[in-house]
């Protein structure tokens, strides 16, 4: 082998090695001492149309004692400006790659929330599967809450908004991508879970919350008790603004009909021998579809739901035989469950329709499957839509 060939191969080897380093991000190692890992962002309406941004920053430590601190920037015109100011105020360069939660204060949701959220859509450095929720109050307060089980706040909220919570129908979980998709779709609508904080106990936990609150705002105070989070209600959006609200039962009905929920518990009251008996039903949804049909120029939204239910508990003591036969749900309980779900679902539809929120994507479905009717009806498609329900419950074996 000639010297030239050997030199060429050595050259190629080193070039390839350097290139591999480039592709594997070895030039991108970051100085952890100078970088703040933002795990959650809270966005509140400030004074004079400005934004107050709170970033929850994880502080990596050895062992399992993870800590987090909150840093707030007030009076920013844009989220981007606030993020830059975080760097200015703290000397830390905030990285948003690990941001998994965006909380919107209730006042923020009164205006178009995409004024703030589109920052996260523009940035290639924020994952769009981060969870989004509205706070019943200020997002800053929610991020300053204390979890009773020692989690840092964003982790505790993330658990409340987890996919497991979604599967049981208790919470209508949404992420940035899905919320943005529904906003930019023809319906310009969407939904977000409503996160409220409930004081559980004053100094009630033996576990010390691993949370530092180092907010720059002077009036920020440390919580002494522990808080629990509730996200059983849902906020409806139209044109990016909050326009309505679903309560816990409506949220469950919406989840059973329209989201990934396939297993849920709910109470059904029936009259038995002159007494009102409440049965706690374990329900498994086996089929759910929504179709929009064109019936004489009227969009008809057809819900089809098939579910299997089993009595998990009842408000009166059952005989040994009844307990033994709990796998077989009495027909009158099943019919009552069908009626209740239909009524709740109808109230969800009416609430959304009245508020102008195209919660069941009627306009988008019309655009895709009945474009002529969509063109003809325009903005009035939602208000003209009529629901039809086909709900059947059977015994869960």
């Amino acid at each position: 082998m000639t010297k030239n060939k050997i030199a060429a191969r050595i050259f190629a080897f080193f070039a390839a090695a350097l290139l591999l380093l480039f592709f594997s991000n070895d030039f991108g190692l970051i100085d952890i001492q100078k970088t703040s890992i933002v795990t959650a962002i809270g966005i509140d309406a400030g004074e004079n149309g400005t934004l107050d941004i709170t970033a929850q920053i994880a502080v990596p430590e050895s062992g399992s004692n993870a800590k987090a601190g909150n840093v707030s920037v007030r009076g920013a015109q844009t989220v981007g400006e606030a993020i830059a100011e975080l760097n200015l105020k703290t000397g830390w360069y905030p990285t948003l790659v690990h941001c998994r939660l965006i909380l919107l204060g209730m006042k923020t949701a009164e205006n178009n929330v995409f004024r703030a959220l589109d920052y996260f859509l523009r940035s290639q450095f924020v994952e769009d599967y981060c969870l989004v929720a509205v706070c019943d109050g200020r997002a800053e307060d929610a991020l300053g809450a204390q979890s009773p089980v020692g989690d840092i706040t964003y982790a505790a909220i993330e658990k409340v908004l987890s996919s497991e919570a979604q599967k049981t129908g208790l919470v209508s979980v949404n992420n940035l991508r899905e919320f943005a998709k529904s906003y930019y779709a023809p319906g310009n609508s969407g939904f977000l879970p409503l996160l409220s904080i409930k004081k559980e106990a004053e100094d009630g936990s033996q576990n010390q919350p691993a949370q530092e609150n180092s907010s720059q705002s002077a009036d920020q105070t440390q919580n002494t008790g522990s808080d629990v989070f509730d996200a059983s209600s849902t906020v409806l959006f139209s044109q990016g603004r909050a326009v309505g609200r679903l309560d816990a039962e409506q949220t469950l009905a919406f989840n059973l009909a329209g989201t990934d929920t396939d297993f849920a518990y709910g109470d059904i009251s029936v009259t038995e021998t002159g007494q009102t008996v409440t049965n706690n039903l374990k329900t498994k949804v086996t089929k759910k579809t929504q179709h929009v049909t064109d019936e004489a120029g009227v969009p008809v939204l057809r819900f089809t739901i098939r579910a299997r239910a089993q009595v998990a508990d009842a408000s009166r003591p059952g005989s040994a035989e009844e307990v033994a036969r709990s796998a077989v749900t009495p027909p009158h309980v099943l019919r009552a469950a069908e009626t209740k779900l239909q009524n709740r679902l109808d109230s969800v539809f009416r609430t959304a329709q009245a508020s102008g929120c195209d919660l069941f994507a009627v306009r988008q479905t019309l655009q895709r499957f009945h474009p002529a009717l969509f063109e003809k009806l325009g903005d009035s498609a939602l208000s003209l839509a009529k629901p039809v329900y086909n709900i059947l419950f059977d015994t869960l074996h």
């Binding site: 060429a8 050259f11 190629a12 080193f14 070039a15 390839a16 350097l18 290139l19 380093l21 480039f22 592709f23 594997s24 991000n25 030039f27 991108g28 970051i30 360069y93 990285t95 790659v97 859509l121 523009r122 290639q124 450095f125 994952e127 599967y129 996919s163 991508r177 943005a180 998709k181 930019y184 779709a185 655009q367 895709r368 499957f369 474009p371």
Partner: protein, 366 residues
């Protein structure tokens, strides 16, 4: 011994070149053609496939290189001029993919932005590949095919559950004009048909080689359109926001697992396939320039890589402007060089089979 085999050409069209259309192309196409992006892509694939079919057919009719055909018909000087023009075209066509790849790696794999110098080793690798001629393209295709065969289906499998294909409805709803405009503005991603022109005489046509090549191209096209369909099914009206689609399409499958972004292993592997694909236009440019000038490939290779390094260092912050220029202003250059000129090779006088025309300088002979 020929430099390329039919198998390698098939691998190139089925596995290497489709990956180049999985970064910025889907979002760009969604911006122009909306939910009809697959139809728009179909127009491009059909046009490019037709050109490749005609060139594969031409390869069956002649054993002569394109240079030889030009020489016979128009003379040596004209052949050299045509080759030099194509050398410039290939170098020009490499600008956008290089900037695209540069941005892809920085945005997907890096949390901060490293110096541009980090990207310079690409040109060193490319320089080495350029001096090795067409044979190295074939070997790269051999290496890339199994990587594609494993990684692409895995990523599609991860993307499938999140995709709602009803987002593609109503088919054709955006109108023919929009679909065709999407096609014309995507031509910069469909500049691969001329490769086949320069493969003429450098591979030995086998029995049913035309069918094999066009079938391989169809497989690559199907993979590309499947990617587009799943991409739009996932992002729908927000698809235009998703630059670097390859890195985004599968991430939702892993977002809820404790393993994190395992899909990035497969994305990383495909990024290396992209690297091979990225070298090809520069290799072709070197090949053509060396033929035109009649010199060893190292000199044009140095010139081409240095020029591209300079262009990339100047414009690496201006991807959007370059993309707009390439797709909306000079789209006809790509139409001319990737569709019209290759087909016009049929107009050259075809010598009788077995009668070899004199060849230009062979770059890849040891």
């Amino acid at each position: 011994m020929k430099d390329l085999s039919v198998r390698q050409i098939c691998f190139l069209f089925a596995a290497v070149l489709p990956v180049t259309r999985m970064l910025v192309y889907p979002a760009t196409l969604a911006f122009r053609a909306g939910h009809d992006l697959v139809l728009s892509a179909l127009v491009n694939y059909a046009a490019e496939g037709a050109v490749i079919f005609l060139l594969a057919l031409l390869a069956k009719k002649t054993d002569t290189t394109f240079f030889g055909l030009l020489q016979q018909k128009l003379g040596t000087l004209a052949a050299r001029i045509v080759y030099m023009i194509f050398a410039l075209y290939f170098a020009f066509s490499a600008v956008l993919p290089i900037l695209e790849q540069h941005g892809f790696v920085l945005q997907v794999l890096y949390e901060n932005v490293p110096s541009f110098l980090s990207f310079v080793p690409f040109f060193a690798v490319c320089l080495y590949a350029c001096t090795k001629g067409l044979r190295s393209i074939g070997r790269a295709a051999d290496l890339a095919f199994p990587v594609f065969l494993v990684c692409f289906p895995v990523l599609m499998f991860m993307a499938l559950p999140e995709s709602r294909l009803s987002a593609l409805l109503p088919v054709g709803g955006t109108g023919m004009q929009t679909i065709l405009r999407g096609g014309t503005e995507s031509l910069s991603w469909f500049g691969t048909a001329p490769y086949m022109l320069f493969f003429l005489g450098n591979f030995r046509p086998e029995r049913k080689s035309t069918a094999k090549i066009i079938s391989a191209y169809a497989v690559g096209a199907a993979a590309g359109m499947l990617f587009l369909a799943l991409f739009y099914g996932i992002f729908a009206d927000t698809a235009i926001l998703q630059q670097n689609a390859l890195a985004h399409i599968s991430k939702y499958a892993t977002s809820s697992t404790s393993l994190g972004r395992v899909d990035l292993y497969f994305v990383f592997a495909l990024a290396l396939v992209l690297l091979f694909a990225l070298c090809i236009p520069l290799q072709m440019s070197t090949f053509c320039a060396a033929q035109a000038i009649g010199c060893p490939p190292i000199f044009p290779a140095l010139a081409v890589n240095a020029a591209l390094l300079a262009v990339t260092s100047i414009f690496h912050q201006s991807y959007l402007e370059i993309q707009t220029f390439m797709t909306q202003t000079v789209w006809y250059v790509f139409a001319l060089f990737s569709l019209v000129l290759p087909v016009s090779a049929w107009l050259l006088k075809i010598p009788a089979r077995g009668k070899r025309a004199p060849k230009g300088v062979r770059l890849d002979k040891k």
